[in-house]
C-alpha cells in the first residue's frame, strides 16, 4: 500500500524476512510442538531457536525466562495478577498516571476489589518524582508496574533505577516495555527488573504474539492453567508461526539497533525541527532529550487532532493523536492531562512514529504538507485570527461548556 506510515508506535508492518520464516509453519510444519513425532519435534526446535533470539535481544540470563503470550496486554495482566496472587498479604500497587490502559484499566479494576493503587504523578515533561516513589515503597506493595517508554511521547521512565529501588525494598518490579524493546539496547541480566512485557507487532513481528520475561526465581502464578506449555506457566497451544516470526524479528531488531539510534533518530529530529520551524504555536511534548529515537509528539495549539489526522490521511500520511475524538471513548489523552498540557494544546497533539523503513523523501513530504494542513484548520478555529492567535485567545473565546 502506498502512503507514508508514521504510526509505528501503534503497529508495524511485518518484515518480509519475518513472514518468510513463518510461512512453512502454517502448512508443512503444522505439528504441535508438544507431540512426540517428528511433525511436532521440528516445530519444537524452531520455537527453541526463537526463544534464544528473544533472550539475546532482551539480554536475559536464561532462555527459560521467556514466556510466550498472545499480546502485550496479556503479559501485563499476567505479571500484575501473578504478583498479587503470589503476595496475598500485600494489598497495594504502585504504577504511574501515564501507563498504557493495559495496566491502568486493570489497576482500576483491582481498586474495586479492595486494592490500593498509588498512581505516581508526572511533571510537565512526564517525569516521575523518585522521592515520592521512594516514600511509597514498603512491604505493603505487591508489585510496581512502570512502563519503560511512553507510547504517546516516547519518553523514558528511569526503570533501571526504579527496579533497583524496588528490589532494595523487597518489592517486585514489572515494566511494560512494548514501546522500548527493539528500539533501545536492553540487558536484563544486569538489571533488577523482575518482569517485562513485550509485544510482537511493535517490532515488525505479527499481531497476536507477546512475551512475558520472568526472572528466574521470581514467584509466579499463571493466568491460564491447563497444559504444560511454557513449563506450565502459560497453558494453551503455542502460536507457533508467530512465535517463530517474533524470534526472527528480534534478531533483525538487534541488527538494526545502531540504525534505529542514528538514522531513524536523525530523520525524527529533522521532521520535528522542520515542522516546528514552519508552524508557530506548536511544541514537542514529553522529555524530549530522553525519549525513543523514533517518536515525535507535537502539540499544535488551537486545533483538534482528529481533524489533523483526517487531512493528513488525505495526503496519504498516517499518524495518530492524543485528542479526545480519536480514542473510542472520547476521553482526551490521560497522558497529556497528567502532564498538565493546556486544553487547547492537548487536543491538537499529533504523534509521528517512524520505523527503520522510513525514508528521507517521506520525511521531506510530511514537512512540506503539515504546515499547510495546520494553517487550513486554524483558519476555522475560533481561537485564531487572520494571521495568528487572537490576543489572549482564552479570553477572546470562552464558550459555555455543557
Amino acid at each position: 500500500m502506498d502512503g507514508i506510515y508514521l504510526d509505528n508506535n501503534a503497529t508495524t508492518r511485518v518484515d518480509d524476512a519475518v513472514l518468510e520464516v513463518m510461512l512453512p509453519y502454517f502448512t508443512e510444519q503444522f505439528g504441535n510442538p508438544s507431540s512426540m513425532h517428528s511433525f511436532g519435534n521440528k516445530v519444537g526446535l524452531a520455537i527453541k531457536k526463537a526463544r534464544l533470539q528473544i533472550q539475546e535481544l532482551l539480554g536475559a540470563e536464561h532462555d527459560s525466562e521467556i514466556i510466550f503470550t498472545s499480546c502485550g496486554t496479556e503479559s501485563d495482566s499476567t505479571a500484575i495478577l501473578s504478583a498479587i496472587k503470589a503476595n496475598p498479604g500485600r494489598k497495594e500497587i504502585i504504577t504511574t498516571s501515564i501507563e498504557h490502559p493495559a495496566v491502568l484499566a486493570l489497576c482500576e479494576h483491582l481498586e474495586k476489589e479492595g486494592y490500593k493503587v498509588h498512581y505516581l504523578k508526572v511533571d510537565a515533561k512526564g517525569r516521575v518524582d523518585l522521592a515520592e516513589y521512594a516514600r511509597l515503597l514498603s512491604d505493603r506493595i505487591a508489585v510496581v508496574s512502570v512502563m519503560w517508554a511512553n507510547n504517546e511521547t516516547g519518553s523514558f521512565f528511569p526503570v533501571l533505577e526504579m527496579a533497583e529501588m524496588a528490589h532494595a525494598a523487597g518489592v517486585l518490579f514489572h515494566t511494560d516495555a512494548v514501546q522500548a524493546v527493539g528500539k533501545i539496547p536492553i540487558d536484563l541480566k544486569t538489571s533488577k527488573i523482575d518482569m517485562l512485557s513485550l509485544s510482537g507487532h511493535k517490532l515488525h513481528a505479527p499481531k497476536g504474539v507477546g512475551v512475558l520475561y520472568l526472572r528466574r526465581g521470581v514467584r509466579f502464578r499463571p493466568l491460564l492453567r491447563g497444559g504444560h506449555q511454557e513449563r506450565g506457566r502459560r497453558a494453551g497451544t503455542e502460536n507457533t508461526a508467530s512465535i517463530i516470526g517474533l524470534g526472527k524479528a528480534c534478531e533483525l531488531a538487534l541488527d538494526a539497533m545502531h540504525h534505529e539510534n542514528t538514522e531513524v533518530r536523525r530523520l525524527r529530529d529533522k521532521l520535528e525541527a522542520g515542522i516546528l520551524a514552519k508552524v508557530p504555536r506548536a511544541f514537542p511534548t514529553g522529555d524530549v532529550n530522553n525519549r525513543l529515537p523514533n517518536t515525535s509528539n507535537i502539540a499544535f495549539e488551537f486545533i483538534e487532532g482528529e481533524a489533523i489526522l483526517l487531512l493528513l490521511n488525505k495526503f496519504g500520511i498516517a499518524a495518530s493523536s492524543g485528542s479526545a475524538c480519536t480514542s473510542g471513548s472520547l476521553e482526551p489523552s490521560h497522558v497529556m492531562r497528567a502532564m498538565g498540557i493546556p486544553y487547547t494544546a492537548a487536543h491538537g497533539t499529533t504523534r509521528f512514529s517512524l520505523s527503520r523503513y522510513t525514508t528521507e523523501a517521506e520525511i521531506d513530504r510530511v514537512i512540506e504538507v503539515t504546515p499547510e494542513i495546520i494553517a487550513q484548520l486554524r483558519k476555522m478555529s475560533p481561537y485564531w485570527g487572520e494571521t495568528g492567535p487572537t490576543s489572549e485567545p482564552e479570553k477572546a473565546f470562552a464558550p459555555v461548556y455543557a
Binding site: 488551537f302 486545533i303 483538534e304 487532532g305 482528529e306 481533524a307 483526517l310 487531512l311 488525505k314 485528542s323 479526545a324 475524538c325 480519536t326 473510542g328 471513548s329 472520547l330 476521553e331 482526551p332 486544553y343 487547547t344 487536543h347 483558519k379 476555522m380 478555529s381 475560533p382 481561537y383 485564531w384 473565546f397 470562552a398 464558550p399 459555555v400 461548556y401 455543557a402
Partner: protein, 297 residues
C-alpha cells in the same frame, strides 16, 4: 477510524460558511464537556423579519464537529428565528446521513450554539439544560448521566429495568457491566445492594411451527391483505406454489411487467417474513414471465 458517512466527510473536507462573519449580530459560543470541542456560531439576522440572512462558524473540534457546524449553517440560512429554534440535533445528524453514536454530541453542540446565538440576539442569557456523561450504550447512544438519573428517579434495581426505561443495554449487551456499576452506585445511595443475575433480553416471539397447510393459509392471508392496493392499480397477485423457503407468485393485470414489480415484490416479501417469522424468498413464477413475454413481444 470512525465510520463517517460520505456527507460528513464532504462537509469536513469542504466546509460551508467557515470563518468569521463580519457583520454578525448574533453570536453563540458553546463547548462540549464530553470531548472538549467548542464552536462559535455567527448569524446575520434581519431585524424586521427575524430571518437568518447569513450564518458562519468557527470550530475547535474534530471532523464531525466541523461537519455538524457546516451542516447547521446550511440548514438555518433563510430560516425565521422561531423556525430555526425548532431544528433538533437529529435534524443536523440526518442532514449528514447520520453520525456515529459516539459523535452525536457534536450535533447537540450545534443545536446549543444555535440556541445560544438566538438568545444572544434577543438579549437573553442562554443556559444549558442538560448534562452529558460518558457514553455507556453504544447501540442506542445513551450516556451515564441519563441512565443514572433514570435509575434514581424510578428506583430501578435491575439491568432489565434500565433496558425497559432507557433502552440502554437492550442491544448487544456489552455495556451491562457499566450499567451494573451505575446500579451499584445509585442503589447504595438509597441503602440497597444490587444483586446480580443473568439478564434475559426479550426476543420477539417466534411463531410456533406451522403445518404446510397452515403456512400456505398464512401466505394467502398476507397476499389478500396487499391485494386491495394492487387492485387499485388495476393489477393482482396469485399464489402459484410454495417450495420450502421459496414462494412462487404470479403478477397479473397491470402488475405484470410493471417497472415497479421488483419493488412491490420486495415489500410483499418483507410482509411475509414478518408474518411467518422466517426468511422467505418471493419469486415471480415462470408461468407469469412466460405470459408476459407473450404479451410484450
Amino acid at each position: 477510524m470512525w465510520d463517517y458517512s460520505d456527507k460528513v466527510k464532504e462537509h469536513f473536507f469542504s466546509p460551508r460558511n467557515a470563518g468569521a462573519l463580519d457583520n454578525a449580530n448574533a453570536v453563540g459560543d458553546v463547548g462540549s464537556l464530553n470531548c472538549g470541542d467548542a464552536l462559535r456560531l455567527m448569524l446575520k439576522v434581519d431585524p424586521d423579519t427575524e430571518t437568518i440572512q447569513d450564518a458562519s462558524f468557527q470550530t475547535f473540534g474534530c471532523g464531525s464537529a466541523i461537519a455538524s457546524s457546516s451542516a447547521l449553517t446550511e440548514i438555518i440560512k433563510g430560516m425565521k428565528l422561531d423556525d430555526a429554534l425548532k431544528v433538533s440535533n437529529q435534524d443536523i445528524a440526518d442532514y449528514l446521513d447520520g453520525l456515529p453514536p459516539e459523535k452525536m454530541h457534536c450535533s447537540v453542540m450545534g443545536r446549543e450554539a444555535l440556541q445560544a446565538a438566538i438568545a444572544n440576539y434577543r438579549g437573553e442569557v442562554w443556559s444549558d439544560d442538560h448534562e452529558e456523561g460518558a457514553l455507556i450504550c453504544k447501540c442506542f447512544a445513551i450516556d451515564a448521566v441519563l441512565i443514572e438519573e433514570t435509575v434514581r428517579a424510578n428506583k430501578l434495581s435491575t439491568v432489565e429495568d434500565v433496558i425497559n426505561y432507557t433502552k440502554a443495554g437492550g442491544g448487544c449487551s456489552s455495556c451491562h457491566e457499566g450499567i451494573e456499576e451505575i446500579l451499584v452506585k445509585v442503589m447504595a445511595e438509597r441503602g440497597e445492594t444490587f444483586s446480580p443475575h443473568n439478564v434475559e433480553i426479550p426476543e420477539p416471539p417466534k411463531p410456533g411451527k406451522l403445518t404446510n397447510l397452515q403456512r400456505i393459509k398464512r401466505i394467502e392471508m398476507v397476499l389478500d391483505s396487499v391485494r386491495p392496493q394492487l387492485q387499485r392499480d388495476h393489477g393482482d397477485i396469485e399464489l402459484v406454489d410454495v417450495d420450502g423457503k421459496t414462494i412462487y407468485v404470479n403478477m397479473t393485470g397491470a402488475c405484470a411487467g410493471c417497472q415497479m414489480e421488483a419493488l412491490t415484490l420486495q415489500g410483499i416479501q418483507q410482509k411475509l417474513m414478518e408474518d411467518l417469522g422466517e426468511f422467505v424468498k418471493i419469486v415471480p413464477s415462470r408461468a407469469g414471465s412466460l405470459s408476459r413475454a407473450a404479451s410484450h413481444p
